[in-house]
Every structure is written in structure tokens, then in C-alpha cells.
Symmetry: C2
Subunit: 346 residues, 2 copies
């Protein structure tokens, strides 16, 4: 929290605060008729467009820890994860609404930082902030974001279209955001109450993956350029295993993915080694990478094989063959979701 | 909370819980292509439609108190207040998304009760539940609802269209929900730790206004039937004064409203008397009535005067004349918002 430059929120009040935070936000999309300032935002999409809506609720202490997450990063990430959900439908994000509930420990500068992050993420993806409100919270910060997007009729990609023989692809690399979180947690404990700064040299990449995830607009653009329409797609928020299980369950199919093809960055591997953790477990179950997981017809093999930042990790099989992970030595293991199931974790 | 029939949420987990809660929810609107179960809901509106989106974040201890609000009522109200925002734009509500964050004190039956209320409100207004998620919270319950609606192009009513000589109208009556809240608070204190039930005889109406508010679909329908398009409209969530100030500020006008025309139910008046409160202050500043406040051209005078459940309370004047409340004895008082500004209240 901001301590040196602190203006109490009470000096502005609820309406004042939201006016202050949203002043200077002007719609960039022609689909945005009216943004902040009425009972609802007014949007309009052409006759050939389908509209996508996704929403997320983030709670302090559960989804984020302000002892090591700066509010600017939090704003950026909160917007990004919702934008990612729109891409995961093969859509184009257009607008977000933002509601925040905050306790008295926060000041106006804190919320400005948060909005700065929000605005940066929105700018990068050409998204308008079209509404939201602020209210009080007894303990900590709660953030609710709704993203709205559109897609040409018939181009939306759902989770339920994967077919036998389809190839399973994933963008970027996996497990890095999770290892970044482990590192932050370790340093939080190590530096607690001490006048020392954590040393993150050589670990910048995994930290950035945790604190500043990027929605994969570039992958969606590449897919369109190559004229590839995935049969199923999802973004990886809860871990590869968990997301693949969603696709298989909804598509009524099984899958085979291969250890040797799972993309892992070297910083992730080094960090896992340091923590004495199995790096493959982290790649399969670590959440918050926000990479895209998708399936394509086998006819698109050459195209996806030549795509940048996309890796073929396996293929779809019939439902009765189940979901399996094949290790380097050829052992078949049943795929399980150990992911970020917060309610079960408690 | 449910104590006699309690199934821990951990037995289902996050995905299990949301599947359980949303099973049996099937879209009723043709505009809903896909509801719960993917990264985003997929909606589609015709070429002549504008789309409305509104969102709300409710925090336990700030927006609701579970010691006297049953979860079923809370679900009903949470949906209703967002539906009300769509009507306040002269739109038709079509879909909602629901995110909840809950601490371990809640069990599955609690969430079932909450969803029962949600579903009832949605059914009454022909609204589809198209998405949402559940996650953990360290303390208490947080609820985030986004409502989506549509309106024929050019028929949306904003806050900024009020013009000099326009008539100011309000539906239903005011202050009842606020008095209901006062009563619940009093009985909470009176019965705390004691084995006694509060006595609500003769006060059912104000309690219902607080616990089970109704979005004024009927007023919107009447307006359409009478071919009246308000010049400005808002729903009363923060109190008449506060909402009227929003309209005047955004429309750059002033107003005159008259004490003798402010609609107040007799139960509200009796309750205020019992509490030794000024009933007019309650009617002007008490929130959560979810009545509609709107302005119409003076040419519509006869039509609105004959509308059921609508009261003419004043008229719009030029900006430099300011915002005033005229008492029965003709005294002009400046209108002030003392409403539900939770951040300032703290």
C-alpha cells in the first residue's frame, strides 16, 4: 500500500472516487456507445457478430497477496485474465467493467495504481473500460471484472469440439507462473520483519510470468492468419491437466499427451530443482500461465508445426481410452487434475 | 447459515460446486447461444439491438448482514438489483453471470438456497443465468453479478436527457426498504444472545421491501404501452435525493420537488414515528427501494398522471436555479444527498 503519499478515500467518497478513477477514460471501440456513468454501459455489435461475456471475482488473501503483488500489477493481471478468456473463445475483447470493494487500509493512490495497471492492459488489447463501481469491504480488497468481446458468427471456439485424431497444441511454456509464485512466497517468509530486499536476479522471467501474465492475442492472430480454426480451445488458468480434462469431458473424448513435448522454460526448471520439486508436476498442474490450449484437425499438422510459440503436445483419442500422460520412458499414467482447486485445498 | 443439513463444500470442490449449482439451468432466451460451461457465455442480438451491461459487487457485512437476511432472499435481491439497472435504461434484461467467493462457514445447502433465490428472480424476469464461478474467501461472502440486456436501437434512456419543464416522476413509494433495514437492525440487537423471536406483525410490507425488492418491469411495460419515452431515468438504489442529483448533474439542469407529492407508505410512516425519525428524510435519503425515477416531457402530463403506481413529484428547471425541495409550507430547501455513500459513512 501507498504509505508516503496517502489521500484517504473518504475525501472523495464513493461517487467521487469512481469519477476520479475513470476520468480520462474515453471509448476506443466503435462498439462502445456509452461507457462509465449510467446504470449500464451501452454496447452495439453488428448483425454478424456474436457477443462473449466472461466474469471473474478476485479476493485478497485467496487470489492475490498484496505483500508481494504491487497494485499496478494486480490491476494489469485482473484485466488480463478476463481478456484471456475472450481470446480462449477465439473472440476479440472489446470492453470490461470493474467493481472493487476496499477496506480502509487503502488510499486513493493505491486505487490509482490499480487503475493504471488496468488501463495499461486494456490499452494493449484495445479494450474499453465501460463501467464499474467502488464500495466498502470490511476486510481487504475484492475485485470483480467482467469482459465482453465479440466474434464473427460461426467462428467462436468452445471446449466441446475436440474430435478423435485431433492434435493437442499449447502456446508458450508451462509452470513458470507457478514457480514465480513459489519464489515470491519463499522470499515473503525469508524477509518477513527483516530490513532486507529479496534477491530475484536471474529469476525475472518466472516472476514476470506470475505478476504480469500476457493474454495470447498473438496466437489468435496467427491462427487467423494461417486460416486455422481450432476445434476446441481453453486458456490455462488452473493448470494443463485440469484444462485438458475440461476439454475432454465436454468433447466426450480421451487424450494422450507426451512428457517430451511439454514446453518448459529453463528458469522454471532451475527453480523447481532449487525447490526440490518435480518440474513436470509443476508444468502439468501449476496454474496462471494463461497460455492457450487448443485442438486442431490433423490436416492442420504442418501449419501448426510451423507456428511460432506453439507446441504439439499430443492428440485426442476415443473416450473409452481415457486421459493419459506418457512419460519419456513410455509409461502411461492417468492424467489427474491437482490444479488450483482452491475450495478443495482449504 | 444452514446448520441442520450441512454438506461441506470441499466434498464437491470448485468445479463440482458450480456444476451442481448450475445443473438444470437451461437458457430461455433465443439470444443465449451458450450459457455456463465455457470460458465465456455466447450471446447474440439482432442488428437493431443495443446491448446493456451492468455489474455489482456485494460484500458481507457491508451490503448485507446474514444474521437477518436469509440466503434465498440474498440471491433474489442480488439478481434483482442488477435486473433493475437494465430496466433503468429502458432495456430488457436477458442474462446474468454470477461469481461468488465464500469462506468455510458456508455449506452446499447455503449455496443452494442462494441459487434458489437467484433462479426465482431470473424466472420472474425471463433472465438466463449464463455463467459464473465460485472460489474461496478468507472472511465471509462476496457476490458479483453482471446483468446483460438489450434495447431497440434509439430507445435506451440515459441519465443525461432531462430538459427544463420536464416532469419528474417516481414509481411506487419511498423509504420503505430503509425502514425495513432499521427494523431488522433493531431486532438483531434486541434478540442477540436471547432465545426469542422478533415480532414483525404489521410490519411485513417494509420488511419485504428490504429483503425482497422488485425490479419495476411493470412500469417499463406501462411506459411502452402508453408510448412514453422518458428523457432520463435511473433506479433508486442510493436514495431519491442522490439519484435526482445524478440526473440533474448529467443533464445539466436543476429541479423542484414537492414534499406533498413524495409517495410514502403508511407502514413506513408508522415505523419512522416509532424510531423518532423524520419520515421525509427517510423517503429522500433511504436507499434500496429500487423504484424508477424518470423525467418526461410536459406534453405527457396526462398520460403519466393516469399511470398506475407512478407519482409526479416535481419538475426540471434551469441549472442556475439549483436543486430544491419544497416543504408543505412553501419553504425551499437545497436538495442534498445524504444517501448510502458507504465509503463516506465509515
Amino acid at each position: 500500500m501507498n504509505t508516503h503519499n496517502r489521500t484517504e478515500i473518504a475525501t472523495l467518497g464513493e461517487f467521487g472516487l469512481i469519477e476520479h478513477l475513470t476520468s480520462g477514460i474515453t471509448p476506443a471501440n466503435k462498439e462502445t456507445l456509452t461507457g462509465v456513468g449510467d446504470d449500464a454501459a451501452i454496447l452495439q455489435f453488428g448483425e454478424d457478430e456474436e457477443i462473449l461475456v466472461t466474469t471473474d471475482l478476485l479476493m485478497e488473501g485467496v487470489h492475490f497477496d498484496l505483500t508481494y503483488v504491487p497494485l499496478r500489477h494486480l490491476g494489469y493481471k485482473a484485466a488480463m485474465v478476463n481478456i484471456s478468456d475472450i481470446y480462449a473463445m477465439n473472440g476479440t475483447p472489446k470492453q470490461i467493467t470493474v467493481s472493487i470493494a476496499l477496506s480502509k487500509k487503502f488510499c486513493i493512490e493505491d486505487m490509482e495504481d490499480f487503475y493504471e495497471g488496468l488501463k495499461l492492459a486494456c490499452k494493449q488489447h484495445n479494450v474499453d473500460i465501460v463501467g464499474g463501481d467502488t464500495s466498502a469491504s470490511l476486510t481487504g480488497l475484492a475485485i470483480s471484472i467482467t469482459a465482453i468481446g465479440c466474434a464473427k458468427k460461426g467462428t467462436v471456439v468452445k471446449r466441446n469440439g475436440a474430435k478423435e485424431t485431433n492434435l493437442i497444441c499449447v502456446s508458450g511454456n508451462l509452470g513458470a507462473a507457478y514457480m514465480g509464485l513459489q519464489l515470491l512466497e519463499r522470499e515473503k517468509i525469508a524477509t518477513a520483519g527483516k530490513d532486507m530486499q529479496p534477491d530475484f536476479a536471474g529469476k525475472e522471467y518466472i516472476l514476470e510470468r506470475q505478476l504480469k501474465p500476457e493474454a495470447r492475442k498473438d496466437i489468435i492472430e496467427q491462427l487467423r492468419k494461417e486460416n486455422i480454426t481450432p476445434t476446441a480451445m481453453i486458456d490455462i488458468s488452473d493448470g494443463l491437466s485440469s484444462e485438458l480434462m475440461h476439454i475432454c469431458k465436454q468433447s466426450k473424448v480421451g487424450c494422450r499427451i507426451y512428457e517430451e513435448h511439454i514446453p518448459i522454460d529453463y528458469q522454471t526448471a532451475i527453480m523447481a530443482e532449487e525447490f526440490n520439486m518435480n518440474v513436470m508436476t509443476c508444468a502439468l498442474n501449476g496454474g496462471e500461465d494463461y497460455e492457450l490450449l487448443f485442438t486442431v484437425p490433423i490436416a492442420d499438422h504442418e501449419k501448426v508445426a510451423s507456428m511460432k510459440n506453439v507446441r504439439l503436445i499430443g492428440h485426442i483419442v476415443s473416450e473409452d481410452m481415457g486421459l493419459a500422460f506418457i512419460t519419456r520412458d513410455g509409461t502411461e499414467m492417468e492424467l489427474r487434475a491437482q490444479g488450483w482447486n482452491q475450495l478443495k485445498e482449504e
